[in-house]
Symmetry: C2
């Protein structure tokens, strides 16, 4: 059995848990196993303690550098086999996502739009 200290070693992919430090930079794949991008960071709702969004970095598919998109955390499923997350969100969906206001992190109306767009039940109801 693998020893697990309190300060985990990087890349403990066989664990049923992952740390907030290790999740940043984790790869995200399509259901077919194509590498879509990486998790830049998570956004946590202070009041409820829920993880609201994973902000994904998708590389230059619009002719620019990495493009960042907050997607509902529940759209990601960890796959031990791949050592990363799988999502069924497509690049076309990301490109057509609802316009993001500057205060998106605190904007419940936009959260409702975003969760609705990606077909995820809100955690706040």
């Amino acid at each position: 059995m693998q020893q697990q200290g309190l300060i985990p070693e990087e890349g403990e992919t066989h664990s049923s848990t992952v740390t907030s430090s290790d999740v940043n930079g984790t790869a995200v794949y399509s259901p077919a196993g194509d590498h879509l991008g990486d998790i830049d960071h998570l956004v946590i709702d202070k009041k409820s303690g829920n993880i609201a969004y994973a902000v994904m970095a998708f590389g230059g598919f619009l002719g620019m550098g990495a493009d960042h998109h907050p997607i509902p955390w529940k759209k990601l499923r960890y796959e031990n086999r791949l050592g990363g997350y799988v999502t069924d969100i497509t690049k076309a969906q990301l490109e057509a996502e609802p316009t993001r206001p500057d205060d998106w992190r605190d904007n419940r109306d936009w959260a409702t739009q975003n969760y609705g767009y990606y077909g995820v039940n809100p955690y706040w109801n």
Copy 2:
């Protein structure tokens, strides 16, 4: 209104959200406002996507260096006024917590003990 980019600036304490990067190192206070310690990192359950534990670093109160304790995430409440988390867990409780096996991060039996000890309903039932 404060502008919020996709890559947040450090220390956006007035936001209703916090990032996975910023939460590490955030101070934890007693209900009386005494500084108890800091969040070292969070432990996230891969399957459900829930935050299982906050691993707290409490400074040398047993005559040693920082002591690390995983506590149920729900025991922490964010307080904008303090710019940190508040918990009603006491040092005495931490000192008497159930013995932690090496595989604690993957051990549901120990999770049940830990959540029971701190009086928090499990997220996995």
